[in-house]
Structures are given as C-alpha cells and as structure tokens.
Symmetry: C2
Subunit: 583 residues, 2 copies
C-alpha cells in the first residue's frame, strides 16, 4: 500500500480567523450555474426558517466518512463559514498506508490513528461529530439517515436523520470478492485497523496451532501456509512484512516449526505490482524468489473453503492448495449505501459515484463525492468540440487562426487536461505540432483550420483520459481541493478563477477543476528494502529507499502524537523485535 505525498498543508492557515459572519453566508447565495464549478444554493427563500439578513444562518455542510478524503476535507475547511457535521462509524482517522505494518506488530494500531474530535479540538474548529453509520442518502429531501454504531439501550433504536445544504460523501469503498464463494467467510482483509489486528492474531494462532502436540507434519505444513490473494501494493507489502516477522522474530520463538512455513502470493495477472514500472516488478519478484516467497501468477482464485483455496489458470487448470490463513486484497467494491444512492440518481451498474471535474456528483446539485467511493468523469473534448470551435472563433469567420487557438489554449488545457497530456506523450512542444498533424506541413505560414481539421487534430486526445487510482493520495488531494473551493466560494464568485465555460454559457467557471498530481508511490519489499516510483519517472530501489520511506511516512503523520508513536514503534522494533503475544 504505497503512496508518497498528499497535498494537505493549506489547512492550518485557513482554519482560524477568517470568519466573517453575515458576509460569508450572503456570498453563498450564488446563482445556479450548470455544467461545473461549485453549484450554488439558490433556494434559501423556500426554506421554512426565515433568514434575517444580518444573522443569516450558516449553511450546513455534512461530511460522511473520516477516511483520507473526509479528514483531508475537514482539515482544510474553514469551519467558521459553515455549520459542519461529520458522521462516521469510526471516531478516528487511520493512517491506512501503515496497515500492513500493523498486521505484524511493526507498528501498533493506536500509533496510526488519531481521534477526529481531537484533530478539531486542537484547531478550535467548530465541528460536530456523530459516531454513526449513514445507511441512506435521500437527495430529494436533502437528508441522510444514520444509525448509531453503538447498541443503544434507550427507547429509540439509535437511528436519526440529518439535514444538509451541502453533502460531502467520503464513505470509501469495501472489499470486492468478485462473488468468489467462501471469501467472505474464510479470508482476512486489509481495509480497517481491526482487520490488521485480526490478521496479527491469526498469524500467531497458526504458529501456536502448529506447535501443539500430536500435529502431523502435513497439518503443520498446512497450518503454516500463508496465502495472499492479490499481487497489488497492499498484498505485496503484507507478504513482505509477514516474511520479515517470521524470519526476524517467529523462527526464534517457534524453532520446531520453522521448516513448515510458506508464503504464497496468488496473482491473476502476469506479474505482481503490475501498476508499477517494470524494473520494480522485476526487482520485487527477484527479491521474493530469494526470500522463498512463492509468487503464483496467472491464477485466479475461484473458491475458498475452510482449508483449501481453489484456483484456475488461464488454460483452465484447476489447482487446490491447503492453507492456514488467507488474506484477500484483490480489489475494492461498492458500499451498499453508495449502491443504493447510485440507483436513486440513475447511476446504477457503476462501481463508484461519477462526479464532474469539480467533484460534484452528476445529477445532484449539492452533493460532492471524494475518495474511493467516487470517480471523476473527465469530460471528453470531442463531445464539446463544436462549441469549443465556436467559442474560439471570435471573428465568426468559420475558421480558426493559430492565434485564435492560442488565445483559448490555456483554458482548454485546464478544462481538458488530456490535451496537454497527449501533447506531452507525443513530444509536441507547441499546439502548432498538434495542428500540423491534422492539416499536414504544406501551408505552414497561413495556418488556418476549419472545424473538420480541428476535430481531426484532437480526435486522439481523449484516449489519454484515465481514472485516478483508488489511493490515499488521490483521496487526500480531492479532500483538500474541495475544502479549498468551499473556503474561497465568495471570492471566486466575484473573481472566477476557473477556465472559460465552453459548453454554452458565457463567463468562466468559478474554480479550476480538480487535477490529480501523482507524487509517486512506494512498494516496501521487506528486509529493509523498498522500491519507489518518484515524481518525474524516477525509480529508486533498495535500502536507501527504505529510509526515504521512513522519513516520508513519519513526516506525513497527522499529528505529533502519532508521529512520535510511529517513530518510537520503529525504534522499539529495531531494539526488541516485534511482540508475538496473541492479544
């Protein structure tokens, strides 16, 4: 579960002091603008509570979820401008990239979590937190229905309803079993802190079980076979952690069973870590081979029972292997509440909520979705090509000159980042090169193109549209971007900073669209070795990268408390090893 940087530093500056009562709320009453940007909330006149002009009530912002996206949003939001409520079944934020370390006790679970209330107490943010799970979003009534995570023993059943003006959905994703039978019952997962704790107990259970008297060699071998399904960053990092735990700590404490231990990674693709550079994949596979971790590629798990994992190769060969403990990390799925909401708004049959480039849920005026529960649907340039042409053609000549194109190019780059990406990938330095591809080198000097030539020049550009991966890095950037938009809503209404509207209306979008900035990714491989993709297509592998990993992860902790705890956990591990108590 590697990730490198995430942008969330603007928080502290914005958090305090900028409260301008009265003004802020009035400024929120923007006129509705379709097509993008932060869509304004214009129907306050219809509200039952009369709003006096000087004591205008603050808009209600309701945030669902306290993962990377929700927390990043809250940390960056200027809470004095809104009435902020947060609903989450967990009253803490978890630094999930360290979850694989928690599975083996390299880091303790409480070292990577920070109470939500504490994060905002320190910043004197007026945030109301409810420990509850949202089970229904009712977009038509602008309410959500929640259920307390704690069994109540009052008269009510713990259900309650909350109203919102703006809803920020940051509920994350769940595991995806691809309906493989037995996975839910018999596999461990690695999504929550509790999952990591459970894996830690299970690993020790296997060692204790294999150490009991009257256990045959075959049983020992089975019990100590640890299988990881999914060769992505999480699975690979867990395999590496487990291998370290066994080699550095457990073999000393359980010497009688050490020869029976085996770790296997099952990966349906041809290689593990296939989203990384090929050099990293090769490095990881070689290291695992030296370590004796079996990498079983090209196999898809089709069934899990209490003691067998059945998998199928591409040539339809079925193999069953006995196992002691299995971890499933083969993909992410949709939470039921998101699924239900998608049905309501006509987005059924999707994996995640579709938002526009300003992170607003399509079809919903005041609902935003960030993090793993959402995907940004980048608008294709070919869908808007005629409008763009018309807008750029200022003299209505029916043709575009190079100058006319250059005048709107900046806005096109912002609105359709795929154009810039395409040019970069094709090594085009200037828009001239792009146009040339369409009209040829012949009439170099009088470079004037009509709509057909314009279409031809841009027809391959949309192939560059890609979804951002479901990582903490993306979620954190989205949260902080959205908070930024909420913070500068008044300013941007007066002075829009977004690109020109190209789909009909005149004027500019209030905000620049969200743009993910990939800052690299780590893949820890165990034995104090890490591989990393750094910005600018740099690759780094080995011991020094491990130290880079330590420093980045320490610096990215959300509080000084967790930073101190994580660093002291690492120190403890160096001095005393990992704790093998089965707690």
């Amino acid at each position: 579960m590697g990730f490198l940087f995430f942008a969330s530093r603007a928080a502290a500056r914005l958090a305090e002091g900028i409260a301008r009562p009265g003004v802020s709320t009035a400024a929120l009453l923007l006129t509705a603008a379709s097509g993008g940007g932060l869509v304004a909330y214009a129907d306050s006149a219809t509200e039952s509570a009369p709003v006096s002009s000087q004591d205008a009530r603050k808009k209600k912002v309701l945030v669902l979820g306290t993962g990377w996206a929700g927390t990043s949003f809250l940390r960056n939001l200027d809470c004095s401008r809104y009435e902020v409520k947060v609903v989450s079944p967990r009253n803490y934020f978890a630094f999930t990239p360290l979850l694989p370390s928690v599975t083996c006790g390299t880091v303790e679970p409480r070292s990577i979590i920070e109470p939500i209330r504490r994060m905002f107490e320190k910043k004197s943010k007026a945030v109301t937190f409810y420990e509850a799970e949202c089970f229904k979003i009712d977009a038509s009534n602008k309410t959500v229905h929640c259920r307390s995570a704690v069994g109540t023993n009052f008269d009510g059943n713990g259900d309650f309803m909350l109203e919102y003006d703006y809803l920020v959905v940051a509920l994350g994703a769940t595991v995806n079993t691809f309906n493989t039978p037995g996975v839910m019952e018999y596999c461990n997962f690695l999504k929550e802190v509790e999952d990591a704790q459970k894996i830690r107990r299970s690993v020790l259970d296997c060692f204790e079980k294999a150490s009991l008297p009257n256990v045959s060699e075959e049983e020992k071998r089975k019990t100590l076979h640890f299988v990881i399904i999914g060769g992505g960053p999480t699975g690979v990092e867990f395999a590496a952690e487990l291998h370290d735990f066994i080699v550095e700590d457990l073999v000393k404490l359980y010497p009688a069973v050490q020869e029976f231990v085996k770790i296997t990674i099952i990966q349906s693709g041809e290689h593990i870590l296939n989203m990384f550079d090929k050099r990293i994949t090769a490095f990881a596979e070689e290291k695992f081979q030296r370590d004796g971790i079996e990498v079983c590629t090209g196999f898809r798990v089709v069934k899990v029972s209490d003691d067998l994992i059945t998998m199928k190769s591409k040539t339809a060969v079925e193999v069953s292997v006995p196992y002691g403990m299995a971890v499933w990390s083969a993909g992410i799925g949709t939470r039921p509440v998101i699924m239900d909401f998608m049905h309501q708004i006509g987005q059924a049959n999707r994996r995640a909520l579709a938002t526009n480039e300003w992170l607003r849920v399509r079809e919903c005026d005041s609902i935003y979705a960030i993090g793993d529960c959402a995907t940004v649907n980048q608008r294709k340039i070919m869908d808007d090509i005629s409008m763009i042409f018309k807008m750029a053609d200022k003299d209505h000549s029916g043709t575009l000159t190079l100058k006319e194109i250059r005048d709107v190019l900046e806005d096109i780059f912002i609105r359709y980042p795929q154009v810039e990406l395409y040019m970069k990938n094709m090594h085009m330095l200037d828009v001239e090169d792009l146009i040339k591809g369409a009209i040829g080198d012949s009439h170099k000097d009088s470079m004037v193109i009509d709509i057909e030539e314009f279409k031809k020049a841009l027809c391959h550009v949309d192939s560059q549209v890609k979804n951002a991966p479901a990582t903490a890095q993306v979620a954190a950037q989205q949260g902080s971007y959205l908070a930024d938009c909420f913070n500068k809503m008044e300013e941007c209404k007066q002075h829009p900073e977004g690109p020109l509207r190209m789909t009909g209306e005149s004027g500019r979008h209030f905000f620049r669209p969200f743009r993910y900035k990939h800052l690299g990714q780590f893949a820890p491989l165990g034995g104090e070795q890490t591989a990393a993709e750094l910005p600018g297509d740099w690759i780094s592998m080995g011991h020094s990268t491990q130290w880079l990993w330590y420093s980045v992860y320490a610096s990215k902790q959300v509080s000084w408390r967790t930073r101190m705890l994580v660093v002291s956990d690492w120190t403890r591990r160096f001095i005393f090893g990992r704790d093998s108590s089965r707690l």
Copy 2:
C-alpha cells in the same frame, strides 16, 4: 489493584549453567516422606520405560497457567533439571497491576504483556509451551487434558493429553458474581487484558452515544453514569483512572455532555479500601468526595438489568439506579477445572485448593498449587501439641524445662509461624513471657511445665493463622519459593534445611515452609495521588507516593521491553493525553 514488591530475583542466577545431567535425576528419587516438604517420587521402578542409570530421563514438570504464580515459578526454575511443559490459553504474561491503567489508555495493553516464549528464549530455557486450556486434571493417572484455544481445522478437535511427574497448578481465579442475576450479561470485569480493552471501548461508546442527536437529558445522564461495584483496590483504582480520563481528556473532546457525567462506587461494607489502614480509607473517601465520585457504602447489588442496577441496604431498602456502564470487581471465584479437581480429591465446597505449607495440594503426592487458585492451610499448633511436647521432652521426664523449650523454639517458629506472630502482637520478647501467662509468675525460677500448662500457654496462638490475600505479590512469592525448592531438591535431600518433623517421624523437613512476606500495597487515587502501606506499618499518601508508585512499577516490569514501553506510555500521556479513539 495495588501491590508493592514481589520476590523474584533469584531467577537469573539459577537459570543457567547448573545443569548436571545424570546426577540431577538420580537425586530426585527420594524416599517418600509424608507430612510436608517436597514429597518425593519413589515409584520409578514401576514405570514402563526402563531408566538406565547414566541416561536417566528427566522428570516431567507440567505448569498450568502463565499468570503471576506460573511465570514466577518458571522464571526461577532451573529448567535444565527437568523436562518442563507449560499450558496456558494466553501465550503471554500480563502485568495485571497495571490493568486499571489500560482501561483508560494511560498505558497500552501491549506495554504490560510479554510473550512467554520470549521470556524463555532469552534465558535459553528449555521450556515447551502449548497455547491451550486445561479442562481436566486426572490425578490418578497423572495426566491433564487440554484443549487448544484456537479453533482447529484439522481432523482432530484440538484436544490433547499430557503426562506429568510433577504438576504445578497456577490457573488463577475467575470473577465471583455471587450468583447475582444479570452480572455476567451486563457487567464488565477486570481480570484479563481483554477486559480492560473492552472497558475502554465501553467508556468511549457511552460518550459517543450521549453525543448523538435527539438524546434527552435523562438519557444522557443515564448513559454517562459509570458504576463500579466493589470498593476494593481494583475498583477504586479504576474509578480514579476513569475520573482522570474524563477530567483530563474527555471533557475537552465532549464538552456538550460533560455536565451529565457521574461515577459511583457501590460497596457493601462501611468503607472503601477496607483492607487498608483507616487513614488511607479516610484519605481516599475525602479525595473522592472532592472529585465528585459518589461512594455508596452499605449497599449490596442484588440485580443488574440492561439499564438498571438494583441494590439493597442493610435495612433492606431497595434502590434502582439507571446506568450506562458497570464494572464488577467484587471478589474472585473458582475456575470450573479447579472445582472439578477439588471434587475429585475430596476438597469440594471450598473456594480454592488447599495446600500444605510447602504448597503441595493436600491428598496429592505430586501436585502443587500456587497463586489465586490455592490457599495455604497453616497447620494449627494445637493439633500437634502432644507430639511437640513429646519431642521437646528429650529426657522423657513428662515435663519441659525452659531450656528444652528453647531448644526446639526455632523449629516451632518456622513450622508454626503463628507462634512468633502471636508473641509479637502480645509484645512478648521471649518464650518465658508466653509460659508465664500459663503458669503465673509464682515459681519463676524452676520454670518447669507439664503438658496441660504447655497447652494452656499455646491455646490462643492459632487465632493468628490468616490466609494470605489473593494478590500478585503472594502468587509471585509462591512461584519463586516453589521453584527454589525444585532447584535444590538434591541438596536438601542430603542436607535438609526445614524444621524438625513434629508429627511422628524423626529428622527434618527438606525445606523451610513457605512464608509470605508482605511488602506493602499501593492504592492509586487519581490526580497524581497515591496512598501506600509500606513495610513496617508506614503509611504514605499524596504526590510523592505517586512517584514512588511510578518507580516501583517501572522497576518491577518483567522485561526491558515492557519497562521501556510502560515508561514511554506514561510520558506520552503527560505530553499528549490519552487516546480517545474507539478501537
């Protein structure tokens, strides 16, 4: 749960190096000696495996339990002399006196536990550990039946049987609900690390629950009413910890509900901490009154339901109070396996296994019991008075001179410690004073007494016989005493060091009987204040005692690892406060 020192330092010196193969086992074949001491194992001739003189097999020592008693025994045992096996459902030792600190996150659970295997790996001790629960002791076949704590998925059900030559029962005690209805279902306990973790979650659940919308004031008041049943050291320390947690951490994070919080201690006696000096009790009650902790004395809880605790005063007034969370710490009970074993050996209707003064279970040749599952039955001097008289009367004159008494006085003191205790309590400096009480001052010079006068002199002595309390301190001392006996079995057979046998046989007991040395007890009262009974009837209270508490508890940790962790937890708490995440 205060306790001060425990004697377990002899371990390191004895642990290594003294292995003398061949000799050690031969020396174990002592002749059976009834009446006390380590009873020898004399029937090796009847064993099926023939024992060759030079490769004699080591005796099997089986230890049940890894609490204070079992761990102290194992740490002090010279494991090279025996084949040592340990069975416990927990693969770690827990420093239970810090459990109340774990309930509120002052100390993390993993900071107070140390894996058993690790303790012995470091000392290169040949100990085999099985993570399993003993569910039956079969004394007649010298076997115990165990069940794996982990659900197995092999063919067997995880049950197995172990043979022993010596069995050390150190299974501890369970909670005692006194059959009060509802206690098991609705109360929390404080025996295991998991209990403390559960309490921590429950406290935070109550705060989160009370912070939900649509909760009436009455419900808030109920949810935030924390009730502790039992005013002993554990209950009082927990109340103090909880108060600190609320006042120092939670009120800042949950300001909206702080006015509804209440802590109540229910105590059936007239005072809390009634085993302590009256000054400590008064100090504690005053402090709790200032803190707003309600101490409800003279009430016995008769029923607990999901939202009400019903209690009865001595005048039979019944009161029911609504509550949010309850902790039951009102006494200890017997584990089912001990109950079953007591039935087998005719000790039914007792709370704990009765042992003699050498910690051997009465009626069982090779079974020892230590810790909370056992009580030492001190032999009454009046039961043996005729034999003692006969033995002391060396010239068979039918009377004892002062010199004859003085000759055996040392042995009497060792064998019947109540004599010394009685004399100390009655401020008698010499045995002369004791005799004088029986025969009067009249014939001072020719102090010669007959059997009736001897009986008269000693008739009140047995009133001083008291059971040691069920504390970690007692358990640890018993474990280390018993290990010491096991270690010097050969030497003591040659040169018995115990008192003269006074019940028939001639010669000396091999060992001195176990004698508990009370080294004092702490009662932490919160707010950096602690009360303590120190050796020599000293009383200490206040902030300085808290620092004494910190240093004693840090120094008594079983490993450098836990010591570092506990101290860094305390430091973390000082700097950052306690973690309020509901994990």
